[in-house]
Symmetry: C2
């Protein structure tokens, strides 16, 4: 069985979204700066059908992730992708567009029912039964590969508190957002083991193993 | 002139002290786990007169810091070192003992006047005129060498907000404290540039240049 991996970018001051996030603007003020390291990379551009891009340490990590990823769990705000409330909008899915870059099954945690849909080669399932159900479905879909938890913070926090994240893969952007949505919830203090660090000029990649 | 460097250990969730810190327990609950990476190192043990210790990437960084450090600024809680209120206690200075490990002039930010004192070969000056005065005195004392800002968070935040920190050298411990004293204050968002990352199994060392 694969692992369950949190795969998320945070600011040096611990935020996964800047101040005032919303369904229309899930990353909040300046939140897109957390992800600037990824947009020009070859693996990211290829996954989005944008042609070639930069190679190097950052790209190697995205390539690894693409190879190991068997399913994705994300929260409702992340899926909404800036398209606002999407329960009644068949075209919702915002910035992911008609050809989402995942190419593996995606499970969206939500309180709002919506039929499963396929965009490009990405099958998207909306899970209203909570994080445990989403994880079970994602594990099943991923088979031997890993389940990537892409955020937001709420999904990550629930899984971390339950002890369901095997690996925390965190990309620390050299940015201070000064407010917003914190990745870690107060009072949740599992033991972690630092297993890997990769240096790049754009972002610091760190991996932790959940150790209880 | 040397640089002004923040040199501080934080938890992955952004805390420099755990819950419920006090003068008697400046690091708060589990806060000492932030510093576990340093206690066994050769450079740290030698500076404390404890004989030899471990060498490797972590030790190289402490050795660099010892070599470049011309003066230290710290807050009152950090100086108190667990000895509680110290204004009237000539023996205060807690865990630093009679032979503090700094071996360069130390400037303690405080609202409580106290005459300068020398312990071992460390001269300790208590600065009641605020962070600007402490920085001016520390720069003067450091000469061509660097001024290290050792914490706590309040001193670091004041200097960062003023634009006085040239370099942020942050040691990210693989620990979730789940609460306590955050290093970064909300609303303070200078631009940073990631300049260096060093991997070790114990802690992730990252350096940022203040860029405005």
């Amino acid at each position: 069985m694969g692992k369950v991996k949190l795969d998320i970018s945070i600011s040096l001051d611990g935020y996964v979204a800047g101040p005032n996030p919303s369904l229309e603007d899930p990353l909040g003020e300046r939140g897109e700066e957390l992800h600037e390291w990824i947009f020009g990379l070859d693996a990211w551009r290829q996954a989005h059908g944008h042609g070639e891009g930069e190679r190097g340490a950052d790209n190697d990590i995205v390539t690894e992730n693409v190879a190991s990823m068997g399913a994705v769990i994300m929260g409702r705000k992340m899926f909404s992708g800036g398209s606002g409330p999407w329960e009644d909008d068949p075209n919702a899915g915002g910035w992911w567009g008609d050809e989402p870059p995942f190419h593996v099954p995606v499970f969206v945690l939500t309180h709002h029912e919506r039929p499963a849909e396929t965009k490009g080669d990405t099958e998207i399932t909306f899970v209203t039964e909570g994080v445990e159900a989403a994880l079970a479905a994602a594990r099943e879909a991923a088979g031997e590969k890993d389940v990537h938890v892409a955020g937001g913070a709420e999904a990550a926090q629930q899984l971390l508190a339950r002890g369901d994240l095997d690996v925390l893969q965190i990309h620390i952007a050299p940015v201070l957002l000064g407010g917003g949505v914190r990745l870690f919830a107060d009072g949740v203090t599992p033991k972690l083991e630092l297993t890997r660090t990769v240096e790049s000029p754009a972002v610091t990649h760190v991996w932790y193993r959940y150790a209880g």
